[in-house]
Structures are given as C-alpha cells and as structure tokens.
C-alpha cells in the first residue's frame, strides 16, 4: 500500500508526469512505426486495415475514460474532495475527444470496408450516444454559479450516464447488428497473426499512457486555475506567494 502511494505520488508529481509523457510519446512513435512498416497489411482489406492500430486503442481509451469518470464521480459524492472532481472532469474531457476520434477513424475504416461511412450497428450507435451523453456532462459543469454545486451535478450525470450504457447497448443490440464479432477476446484464442496482435497490444499500451499523461496534465492545469482564482478572490492585487499555498481552505 505504501509502495503504491509512493509510485502514485511520483507519477502525479512533475517529474513523474514528464517521464510518463516521454514514455507515451515513445510508445506512440514505436506503435506507429510498427503498424505502418513492420506488420504486414491485411490480406483481404489491404492497407486500410492498418487503421485498426489507432481505432481500437482510441475506443479502448474512450471507454476507460468514462469508467474513470464514473468511479471518480462516486468517490467525489462520498468524500466531497475536490481532487476527485478534478479527475472526473479531466477524464471526461479526454474521453469525449477520444470518442470523437473513435467515431471518425471508424468511419474512415468503414467506408472502404463496408462501403458506408456510418451504419446503425450496436457498437457504433452506443459509442455515438456515449459521445452525446458526455457532451451533456461537460455542459452541465458550466451551469451553476457556485463550484461545489457544479461538481455535484456533474457527478450525478457521470454516474447516470455510465449506468445507462448497458441499457443503451442492449436496446440498440436488439434493434439490429453488422459488426464483426470480437476477434481478440475469444475462448479459442485470438484469430489474428501474432505480430499484428503484439502491435495492437503495444498501441493500446501507448494510447493508455497518453491518456494518463493528458489526464495528469489537465488536472495540473485545473489546480493552477483554482489557485489563480483563489488568489484573485482573496486579494485582487496579491502575488502568488508560494505555488503550494493552501490557505484558501479548500480541502485537497
């Protein structure tokens, strides 16, 4: 537990965040090189299938991000610590961007493969609705005049949105279907070539590191915003005495 805390402290500190940034950047560069030049193109779909190495990781990050929003929302309502709301907000923003990317990349892949930009397939539809739900989440954050109310409303929507996903998915699943069945997580083992699978795993890991880096950077920005705001509120002409001042009484 203590070791975990130390790692967490290091990662969320400046040096850890920078190290994570370099890791993510290197990983992305490596996975891009692998997916473009090392791995063979798909026999049936040709070169366009290489989109898989960005489409699948963005989708994974999107779903991961919204899961984090849900967990952070629950944690915020239970503890009322601002840090959980920072995490939820950062994760939601990153999640919305990655959901948008997932949809765009999927459309680019779908057009040559299926012949259409968009189809009302369960997974596509669920992802599009997720995108809309979390746009609503980000909109709610801007509404109230006082900060803590915004945090609470956002947390409620973050929980509601996440638990709505199974219902949404079930309803669109029964509604129709065309996506290929999942090919990686199958009982008989994966059906794609080992080199492809390794590249995909590398890409997923790199994108996850990138997600974490974006998350930490966004949370750091938000802390800076809060400090600037509290200084302004306390004394409009004050100078920031120390970067870590917590005299404003906000529980961190």
């Amino acid at each position: 537990m203590r070791a975990l805390r130390r790692v967490g402290g290091w990662i969320t500190g400046d040096r850890g965040r920078r190290a994570l940034g370099w890791t993510a950047g290197t990983g992305l560069a490596l996975s891009a090189a692998c997916s473009l030049f090392v791995v063979p193109a798909d026999a049936e779909q040709g070169v366009v299938q290489r989109l898989m190495y960005v489409h699948v990781p963005t989708a994974w990050v999107a779903y991961l991000a919204f899961t984090v929003v849900f967990a952070a929302s629950v944690a915020y309502l239970r503890t009322r610590r601002t840090r959980w709301d920072r995490l939820a907000e950062a994760s939601a923003e990153v999640g919305v961007v990655f959901t948008g990317l997932t949809i765009v990349l999927g459309a680019l892949w779908g057009r040559p493969t299926w012949g259409v930009w968009w189809t009302w397939d369960p997974r596509l539809t669920t992802t599009a609705i997720l995108f809309l739900i979390y746009l609503g989440y980000l909109a709610v954050r801007r509404l109230p005049e006082n900060a803590t109310r915004a945090y609470r409303w956002a947390a409620v929507v973050g929980i509601l949105g996440f638990l709505d996903v199974p219902l949404v998915h079930l309803s669109v699943l029964w509604w129709r279907g065309l996506h290929q069945p999942p090919s990686v997580l199958r009982v008989q083992g994966p059906t794609i070539a080992p080199s492809m699978l390794l590249t995909l795993i590398l890409a997923v890991a790199a994108f996850t590191a990138a997600y974490l880096w974006l998350l930490l950077t966004r949370m750091r920005l938000r802390r800076a915003e809060e400090r600037a705001m509290s200084v302004l509120l306390r004394d409009p002409v004050a100078r920031v005495t120390s970067p870590q001042s917590t005299e404003d009484g906000v529980r961190r």
Binding site: L163, D164, S171, W174
Partner: protein, 224 residues
C-alpha cells in the same frame, strides 16, 4: 412523515397546480399536437411509410413533452424559492423526488394517450393488435421518462442557458426508453406480439434503474 406519504402530498400538490394553472394543457399539449401535425405534413399524406414511422414519431414527441413537463415541475418550485420549503419539510428528500417523478409520469401518460389518439386519427392507423400492450408501453415509458426527468429537472432552474441544457441531457440518456418504447408500440400495433416481452422487460429495467438512481442521487442535485 414517511416517504410514500410525503410523495403522495407532492403528487397531489403538483397535479393541483397543473389543474388550476393549466400549463401543460395550454402549452405542452398544443405544442406536441403541432409536432404530430408537422411530422404528418413533412412526410406527405398517409400511406405505408407514415404507418411504419408512427411509433417512432409518437415517442419522439413524447420525449419533447417530457422535457417541457419536467422543466415546468421545477419552475414552479424555483419561482418563489418554494424548493427550500419542500426540502426543509419533515421527511426524507427522496419523497420530494418520488412525488415529482410520479406527478411528471402521470401528466406524461395523459399527454401520451392524447398523442396516441391523435396519431391514430391523423395517420389513419389500423386497430391495434394488442391494445393492452400499447397501454403498457405508454405507461412504462412515461414512468421511465418521469424518473429521469425528475432527477435532471433540477438542472433547469431559472436561467435561459440552463433550460437549453436539459434536452441535451435528457435525450441521449433516454435512448433506451425511445427505442424500447417505439419497438414495443410498433409490435403492439401491428404484431407479431411474440417479441413484446423482451421490449417491455427492457422498459421495466430502465424504469427500475432510473427510479433507483433518482432516489439515491436526488439529494446531491438539490442540497445547498
């Protein structure tokens, strides 16, 4: 005062406000009726296409009505800061939520019945295969939308910006009700009734999820 007794008082109060103020009857009703007519006009005169689209249009219109109704449900509370009185009244705050949700659901069910009658007449739909299932779908959908709307309606509050956010929140979250409601209504209208159970079951599941979450989370929406 217990939860249910408190809820009953609020249901009675909200329905009384509606009966005397006629907000839904004068504003929301005519608006959704206009929507039904406008849809009909945009699709061209009757025929197979309109018949196929009718269940979907019915639920889309109901969704618009639901947003307006739950905005109204909280408008009357924020006008004179009456919300504070409700929350300070003895009994749990979840009673306020339940009361609001039931009142919205009842008004919505009446509204849906009106929309349905209008759709049947204007679009010239045949007699339903299973009228009971149509009623069940409308009722279950109204309950789900009421449960969701009563939780999120508190967002609408008083300002213009807030009112515009409500549909953005309610529409994507109510997709299960929209799809399951439209499917169940279509099956109940034209058959086959064999698949009805699945869709009505999904509506029930959505109702349970939204009402449970509403009861749990309502406090966080209104405490200040």
């Amino acid at each position: 005062m217990g939860q249910l007794a408190g809820a009953a008082v609020i249901v009675a109060k909200d329905l009384r406000v509606e009966l005397r103020g006629r907000h839904a009857a004068v504003l929301v009703g005519p608006f959704v009726a206009t929507l039904v007519v406008a849809f009909g006009l945009s699709l061209g005169p009757g025929g197979a296409a309109v018949e196929r689209l009718a269940p979907g249009l019915l639920w889309l219109t109901a969704l618009f009505g639901a947003v307006l109704l739950c905005r109204r449900a909280y408008e009357i509370e924020f006008d004179d800061d009456a919300m504070l009185g409700l929350l300070l009244a003895p009994g749990p705050n979840s009673a306020v939520y339940l009361g609001k949700a039931i009142a919205i659901a009842i008004q919505l069910a009446v509204l849906e019945a009106g929309i349905f009658a209008l759709v049947v007449v204007l679009y010239g739909l045949p007699a339903a295969v299973s009228p009971a299932a149509v009623a069940a779908a409308l009722a279950l959908g109204a309950l789900g939308l009421g449960g969701l709307g009563a939780l999120l309606g508190a967002v609408a509050g008083t300002t213009r910006t807030r009112e515009s956010v409500l549909p953005l929140l309610v529409f994507p979250l109510s997709v299960p009700m929209l799809i399951a409601g439209a499917k169940a209504t279509a099956l109940a209208l034209y058959g086959p009734v064999g698949e009805l159970g699945r869709w009505l079951g999904l509506l029930v599941a959505a109702d349970v999820v939204f009402w449970a979450l509403g009861t749990l989370l309502f406090d966080y929406m209104v405490e200040d």
